[in-house]
């Protein structure tokens, strides 16, 4: 069976690739917003199968990559507080802030920092350790945030007094808007993230087509999904059309998952947020709503850390906006490797620099 499926898949893919070649005339820049797409594109070698007219650019869609230094510093300072167990997703351990990384602090100072796979694990640790204060590094886009919201809600219902979060969650549509407001990027169309869109739906992207007159296609993560999405974008561009289409129909609806969004909006409310390398994007972050303020680790521990300037010559900011390709960074593959990352794009497995390094090679 497998072989038949795979044969079909490669036949089908080749058919789409041929079609893209035959209709693509204009030089265009398409951005895949999401890190999972970046990885899939590199893993399947899509870039080199496309005509020279199409340039794929990796966007800021990896929550780890866009977490600014100051937030990492806050995490470290919270982890240093007395009787604190600090919990985090694994990738965050190695992102450098100005005080170093969580991983290094754990080793050097013996801080109790634990990797969890879900915020619910952190909640469990809090329940099991009533004499400690458990803080969770709450990072993520709309895919992870509803689960975190549900966890905070649970803690609220249980009147748990020793559970806190450090919220650095961000939302995708405002980031796309900020990219569109930067004309020098010259983006002609967007491949929008499938799993985020399962939650938020496709309607929220309407502004891309209506206000900015650019096409957007919400794509699944298989190579053929991405190829088909590219085809749909090119077709729109060549036909001078601009609308939001869903390629990932098997999972995405125009409205999204209202229940999950409902709990997210109950627990969090929008705020301005600093995106690493990009700067502050209005209304692109999430903070705890008033009712849940008691769970805010920054307030509880009275942490006050101003924004810090990144003094390394990391080019993540330019890379996240598609102004540069990873090999154009002087540090790429030399001072900065996945084993020894200088910038966050090299830390996260979904970061552009890491994907480039792993799948296209450091000398490419």
């Amino acid at each position: 069976m497998r072989y038949i499926d795979e044969f079909r898949e490669s036949e089908y893919a080749n058919g789409i690739i041929d079609k893209i070649h035959s209709i693509s005339k204009k030089n265009v820049k398409l951005m895949e917003v999401c890190g999972t797409h970046t990885v899939a594109i590199f893993k399947s070698g899509i870039r080199e199968l496309l005509p020279k007219t199409i340039k794929l650019i990796s966007g800021p869609g990896c929550p780890v990559c866009v977490t600014p230094m100051a937030d990492i510093d806050k995490a470290i300072v919270i982890a240093r507080q007395k009787d604190v167990i600090f919990t985090t997703f694994g990738d965050m351990m190695r992102v450098p802030g100005s005080l170093g990384t969580l991983q290094k602090q754990k080793a050097d100072e013996g801080l109790d920092i634990r990797i969890v796979y879900s915020p619910l694990d952190a909640l469990k640790i809090a329940r099991d350790n009533k004499d400690k204060k458990v803080a969770f590094f709450s990072a993520g886009f709309e895919t992870t945030t509803p689960t975190i919201a549900a966890t905070v809600f649970q803690a609220y219902m249980d009147s748990l007094k020793n559970f806190f979060i450090l919220p650095v969650n961000k939302t995708v549509p405002p980031a796309i808007k900020a990219l569109l407001d930067t004309p020098e990027l010259g983006l002609n169309g967007f491949i929008c993230p499938g799993h985020v869109s399962v939650l938020i739906g496709s309607n929220v992207y309407k502004f891309i087509a209506e206000k900015y007159k650019r096409p957007a296609v919400i794509s699944g993560f298989e190579p053929v999904d991405i190829l088909l999405s590219i085809y749909m974008l090119i077709k729109q561009i060549e036909e001078k059309d601009a609308k939001v289409e869903i390629e990932y129909k098997r999972a995405v609806t125009p409205e999204g998952n209202k229940k999950a969004m409902g709990i997210m909006r109950d627990v969090f409310e929008p705020c301005d947020a600093d995106w690493r390398g990009i700067g502050v994007i209005p209304e692109s972050g999430l903070k705890l709503a008033k009712k849940y303020k008691g769970f805010d680790a920054v307030e509880h521990f009275g942490i006050n850390i101003p924004a810090v300037e990144d003094k390394t010559s990391c080019n993540c900011g330019d890379i996240l906006r598609g102004l540069k390709e990873p090999p154009e960074c002087k540090l790429f593959g030399k001072a900065c490797t996945p084993e020894n990352p200088v910038g966050p794009c090299m830390v996260s497995t979904e970061g552009s620099c890491a994907a480039y390094y792993r799948f296209a090679g450091k000398d490419n």
Binding site: E6, G45, E48, L49, P338
Partner: protein, 333 residues
């Protein structure tokens, strides 16, 4: 329930009882029976010698346990040099409180594994440590084998034009262990592929001695050993995604766990690099052996891109295959 006590490792009465009552019945053979501090035997041949320690967590997993893993692993390390495995040693570090019933289950599967590989355990050792100082049970096995054929099998020996062969579907051991540890259940149970590969290697060598390199893709998976091959022999390797056998359930589990089957550990598979003229005959011989029935030629050795492994993807693109990077998944062997 009977449990291991510190006194079982004291060298006194309880130690003797443990050996006489539990270890000897499973491993009985003329060498071990003497209960000397060493086994004495003659060997008149080129000898291969290897050692490995096993600390897998969990100790029992679908398709096997730490016991058969410890026998098969060392048998395979010998076989990968083209050696015929003969004698093994087994050293046990037991945590105080470990259930004796579980120890017996482990010993029994060690016996079965040794029997099917045709090796005997000729010397051994047992230590018991305080609770918390080890995790249940650790096993070290060493092994000696003889090399009878005029062969030169080494990761440094790949030749341009060689075909790369894999003996069966990849990723089953790593996924079986991880699924058990994470408490994940899949529709179809994924079982470890742990198996002794010496009979397979012997069949391959009977078909042709033109095998240039052999290795079992354990930690780091197929990707890592191919990269080692490419670097050690200073050649390029191209493999084809559509040729690499991966069971659907493993592929599905990998997607859920965010893993790439190319990097997941195997304990009963081997990858070979063989000269192009011999490759078909070797493949045929492999497919006749139960441990190689799903063998496939998955790629070839090229003179370009030295030291680099390239995968041709399903849709016709290509990508680089590097070694496993970052955090090693905890203790899978």
């Amino acid at each position: 329930m009977d449990r291991i006590l510190l006194a079982h490792g004291s060298g006194g009465k309880l130690s003797h009882e443990l050996i006489e009552k539990y270890f000897l019945p499973y491993f009985r053979n003329p060498f071990l029976e003497l209960l000397n501090d060493q086994a004495v035997f003659d060997i008149h041949s080129r000898v291969a010698f290897t050692t490995d320690s096993y600390v897998v967590d969990p100790v029992f997993f679908p398709g096997g346990n730490i016991g058969d893993l410890a026998i098969n692993g060392t048998v395979n390390d010998l076989a990968m040099g083209g050696a015929k495995p003969l004698y093994l040693s087994a050293g046990f570090i037991l945590e105080e409180g470990f259930p004796i019933k579980e120890l017996e289950d482990i010993l029994s599967s060690m016996k079965d594994a040794a029997d099917s590989a045709g090796v005997i355990v000729v010397t051994g050792d047992t230590k018991v440590v305080n609770k918390g100082k080890a995790d249940k049970i650790f096993i070290n096995t060493s092994g000696i084998g003889v090399i009878e054929k005029p062969i030169n099998i080494s990761a440094h020996n790949l030749k341009v034009g060689d075909k790369i062969i894999i003996s069966g579907p990849i990723g089953e051991h790593g996924i079986a262990v991880m699924a058990k540890r994470e408490g994940l259940e899949f529709e179809k149970e994924i079982r470890s592929d742990t198996a002794p590969l010496n009979s397979l290697v012997s069949d391959m060598l009977s078909a042709s001695c033109d095998i240039h390199a052999l290795r079992d893709p354990t930690r780091g998976g197929l990707a890592t050993i191919l990269k080692e091959f490419a670097i050690s022999s200073n050649v390029g390797i191209v493999i084809y995604e559509d040729k690499i056998p991966v069971k659907d359930e493993v592929r599905g589990a990998c997607e859920i766990l965010g893993l790439d089957p190319l990097f997941v550990a195997n304990e009963g598979r081997l990858a070979a690099s063989a000269s192009p003229d011999a490759a078909e005959a070797i493949l045929k011989a492999m497919r006749r052996n139960k441990y190689g029935k799903d063998a496939e030629i998955i790629g070839e050795v090229v003179s370009e891109h030295k030291g680099v492994v390239i995968l041709k993807t399903l849709i016709g693109g290509k990508r680089i295959i590097d070694m496993l990077m970052g955090e090693q998944l905890p203790r899978i062997c």
